[in-house]
Symmetry: C4
């Protein structure tokens, strides 16, 4: 494979993620009356927006850290990135689907499925980039940790799919848990830190 | 914390702000008849769009000046930036909420709350960047001034929230006053000027 | 004034213009039946989209050439650029307003007014940048020519406003004429050519 | 013609393509009930979204490879690029038109026409850039191959237009076939490889 600049892949990804994030806020439909009740009615949609914003922002920050460590981009990596963006582009739909149907099992399950697929697609991209960095022991160690974190997240999201029919609150608990895990060890940030210690 | 390039944080912010600005113009719903009355009916929505465009543009210009002075970006700063963009992304909703309900107290109050939160989130980011620049006396002095300006703006927006139930015009006066203050001393522009005098 | 990088001003403008262009295509509402009649009904909306795409693209290309010649950006230029983007952001509204009301005088007049204001705002930005380049005789000559072209375009658009009540076709003729003039002498492209002859 | 930086042409194209891709996902209208039937009803719209995402992503990757090899951009190339983006911007409309009318002949034919026009517009841009690279025998050979691939794709899309009235499935077969061809020899990627062998 031939080296390509990574800047356009970053720019295209930034554009798509920026639009995904702001499309979701459009689901906050403006109430036609100015009563507090009409506004409170939007609370679940607002909370699902805030959660999806957080999840998409985490994936964007991980994407940032991942490409920060990459030195060359192959055509294969371009396509794994497009594949990732495709599944990510479904998050506004699944977020709105929950918001419209107030925690019914099917929308809640689909939300987990979309995040599981986006997470797996991200890990496929990470794995491809890891192959180019296999010679660097520090990077290899970080990719092993990152691989574990991504696997745990994807398995949790996958578990949330059938659990939605047991209790939607179990699935929702998982959707809140995964970002919470992320903010604890900050795995991928340390990954980049290993590459470029301050 | 490890240094990261600031260009993607800038590009992502530019994308989100560009979409926020243009989402707001979509609230100018095209009248189905070509009468001057139908057009005049849009005047308050147009004015609230113009005001929100101005406020978002001010925050973008301040963001530009702030990052212009930053030399390295930490993971913490990335997240403070995402946090800022989250609150900023609610401005189109609150703008449309006013436009739809013609200066009812609740929408007018919520507009001030969103701007107060976006302003505070911006100042958290500024404060974090200021810590890296504490060694530079000129920058430290500029951050002190900038901190004061941001505090005044946030307090004014906060005051506008309860005042909306006294008189919406008091709140609207504050919403016009804050950008007007900005254009008088041009604080943050001078801040950058201190860093790189022409 | 202090120098600022021009790259973020370019990136923000590119984002806003890209969204303006693609917002307009959303006015092409998909017909609910697959008959040729329903499709033909969209023809005037398609033509107004094509014309507005062309006009916005011309302004974007001029913006590109203009900033290409600029070496430093002041805070004043940042704001003149935001001012330009504000008027440009109204073009999707005026385009949809024509499309919705099939060449009624008021929408046709408003379309010209928005383009006149966007054109004047662009020329204010150009004039400010010209002041920095006054020392370069080649650039000064090119700015004189560019100033004349912009003035002619703005005056034509301004004339189209009252003419819409005489005959909308006179205004439409002007809206087709102005881009046609642009493609004849390619003024601003030559302007850049004068700066960097091939 | 004078050289211009290619970065803004890339950034503007990235912005437009990112919005085109994410506009299409908005056609996946959220069902108002949480039944599996309502979700399954979206399957054809989802499949048409996935196909259009793939086609637009291919064109974006080709655009990336093409500009990667370009060293200078002329005003003519800027306009050929705008021309390409114009036809590409119609893809969300034709995709939604199919989704709304479930494989009726006219929407299926129009989909092929839009892709044919976007493909031809892309080849016009490629041809213009090829003229600048005629002196490089490796690039010239690659452009000959790329020209053939683009011609085959455009002819297949053109054939799909009348075939939609014979059988929409023939046209749909072509719409699936063209991306499949692309992923076999990966023509344009090799083109860039010829320029910069790994």
């Amino acid at each position: 494979m031939q080296p390509l600049g990574k800047s356009r892949m970053e720019a295209f990804s930034d554009g798509v993620v920026a639009i995904i994030v702001t499309i979701m806020v459009l689901e906050l439909k403006v109430p036609h009356d100015a009563s507090p009740e009409a506004l409170l009615h939007l609370a679940p949609i607002f909370l699902s927006y805030a959660l999806s914003f957080l999840v998409v922002a985490i994936l964007w920050v991980n994407h940032h850290h991942l490409l920060h460590t990459a030195t060359r981009i192959t055509g294969r990596e371009l396509w794994l990135n497009n594949h990732f963006l495709f599944w990510l582009s479904l998050v506004p739909f699944t977020t709105a689907y929950i918001g419209e149907n107030h925690l019914a099992p099917l929308p809640v399950a689909l939300y987990g499925l979309a995040l599981c697929l986006a997470g797996c697609a991200f890990d496929l991209l990470r794995r491809e980039i890891a192959r180019d960095q296999a010679g660097d022991p520090a990077m290899a160690a970080l990719h092993r940790r990152s691989s574990r974190t991504n696997a745990v997240s994807a398995l949790l999201y996958l578990a949330a799919v059938p659990l939605a029919w047991v209790s939607v609150w179990l699935s929702v608990f998982i959707y809140v848990l995964v970002p919470a895990i992320y903010f604890m060890p900050r795995n991928i940030e340390k990954m980049a830190a290993g590459k470029q210690p301050a």
